[in-house]
Amino acid sequence: MIKHQVYISPNEVKVDGKTLTHNEKGSALLTELYRNNIGDYPKFFKMDTLSKLGFIASELLLNAEGDRVFEPREDRAVIFFNRNASLQADTHYQSTIQNPENYFPSPAAFVYTLPNIVTGEIAIRNKYFGETSFMVIDDFDEKIIMKNLENAFQDPITKSIIGGWVDCSDEEHFEAHIFLMEKDN
């Protein structure tokens, strides 16, 4: 059962269907959302765009859930889907090795060339020891995503999932549509 949902695009933010007012667009929007809603997690600025997007969306989702407790838990999973995997980070890392005259492979860029890092960032922030997973399908398909998330409740411990779609092709083009789901009794 879906408890809360968050939608973020370069020019629109909605929490549980209600529009959140903002001044900025694109990458600046993510920074604005960070400053207005979080503000005390400087690791945010080290993240690639996919992680920033998923992190902000999850923060808005969890703020909607109520008072934040950062107690360790294993019964909440983080499972995302998207189209472009880690393309923005991949392109950025490739730029550090493309030119043999200016070849300085960046470890901080390379670590984000895995789409599942965003699920790890959310697990670290919230002390979630539960399942984290990332899958890619070439087009957004709500049926496939919802069926997959329902399947994830087959895990004997998982009772709740932060799941959905978190996609970005470059720093200015992104879309997140994520849910907080609880297992039906």
């Binding site: 470890p107 390379f110 670590v111 789409p115 599942n116 539960g130 899958m135 087959q154």
Partner: protein, 372 residues
């Protein structure tokens, strides 16, 4: 129960599961040193396929070895891949990423998208369903099998074809070099002198189905779990939190003495192997033989979880616990029973363990004939 129908491995050691297992059993490794390959300034050790033998005008090497591996797995089965009840799950970390290189212009750039790469595969087999790509760093191969188990358990599909693949490139090798994670020689899992990992190319396929009853010689995927360390995006947990928790779920109520071995991730980086030793000890499995296959194949990334599950099944079929190539003196703090020679076993079950960037960990319990 979720039962294995068929499998295949395409690697530098061979193009069938049996051929691969025979090479590993005979202590043959495909790891060798490469100097100046792909214009990389530093030399590296890796297990690489002959690129020219695979890639063609239509398909990249990643796509080609996936298609070949799945085709070989389908031989001697009744499965018609055009059925709607057949799902394809591809497991990969960096499939087709070499297409990002500006100098690469042989294939459409959109094929760098994993979903497009997977569609090339389902198109080839005439499958009508959207393929799922699992891209969960180095644990993808076990995650893909867990996804397959769930799709079969839910009744949505009757057959799931899981194929793991990764092919090395300047992108991946330079990245691991920037992390100072690559060894300049053949890797030494769990050894006191281990100094990093080697990378490898492979595609590996397992086809699963659902059955009410199984024969003694049929392989059953019993339980799997994915857990996070919630600690750091690149460094493994110092207390083995995620691997410990994944192991605990995979083991369930099984008596650990039923296990022939734990096939560990065993990448031979100082931190990974130490973390696994802590997790295995915490899960009460310190007495169980442990091995790693990285000394034969290197780390095959998205293929690793599938390939290493297949080799481990072959080993149990052969009553064998495989040696850990490169291992000599134990170099982790907990006294694991790491194998350094092939050993006889009569047991029928094993656990495949993996961990990866993003703090993720996965464990899968496989049992021949199912659990009693």
């Amino acid at each position: 129960m979720i039962v294995k129908v068929s499998d295949n491995i395409i690697s530098p050691l061979g193009t069938t599961s049996a051929e691969n297992y025979a090479k590993v059993k005979a202590d043959i490794s495909a790891l060798r040193r490469y100097d100046g390959l792909w214009g990389l300034p530093e030399p590296f050790f890796a297990s690489l396929l002959d690129r020219d033998a695979y890639a063609d005008d239509r398909h990249t090497i990643d796509e080609k070895i996936v298609i070949d591996s799945i085709s070989k797995s389908l031989e001697r089965t009744e499965i018609d891949t055009t059925w709607t009840k057949v799902l394809f799950i591809i497991s990969t970390t960096k499939g087709n990423v070499f297409l990002l290189d500006e100098r690469e212009n042989g294939y459409p750039k959109e094929r760098v998208r994993l979903g497009m790469m997977a569609r090339e595969v389902t198109k080839h087999f005439g499958n009508p369903n959207e393929p799922i790509v699992v891209s969960n760093a180095c644990i993808s191969g076990v995650c893909a099998q867990i996804e397959a188990m769930r799709y079969l358990e839910s009744g949505e599909y009757d057959y799931v074809i899981v194929c793991g693949v990764d092919v090395q490139s300047a992108f991946i090798v330079s990245g691991f070099q920037s992390f100072k994670a690559l060894s300049q020689e053949a890797c030494k899992p769990f050894d006191a002198h281990r100094c990093g990992l080697n990378l490898g190319d492979a595609a590996a396929t397992i086809i699963y189905t659902r059955k009410d009853k199984v024969d003694d010689n049929e392989w059953v995927a019993c339980r799997g779990a994915i857990r996070n360390d919630a600690n750091h995006i690149s460094g493994p947990s110092r207390v083995g939190e995620g691997s410990f928790r994944a192991l605990r779920v995979a083991l369930g109520d099984l008596d650990p003495s039923e296990l022939a071995f734990i096939n560990a991730h065993g990448t031979a980086t100082p931190y990974n192997d130490e973390m696994e030793s802590i997790a295995i000890e915490r899960a009460g499995l310190a007495g169980i033989p442990v091995n790693s296959l990285k000394g034969y194949y290197g780390h095959t990334m998205g293929a690793a979880g599938v390939l290493e599950t297949i080799i481990s099944m072959q080993a149990v079929d052969d009553h064998n616990i495989l040696a850990t190539r490169g291992f000599d003196t134990l170099g982790v703090t907990h006294s694991l029973d790491v194998t350094n020679h092939n050993r006889y076993t009569e047991k029928h079950a094993f656990i495949k363990l993996l961990s990866g960037f993003g703090g993720c960990n996965a464990a899968l319990l496989m049992a021949k004939g199912g659990l009693q």
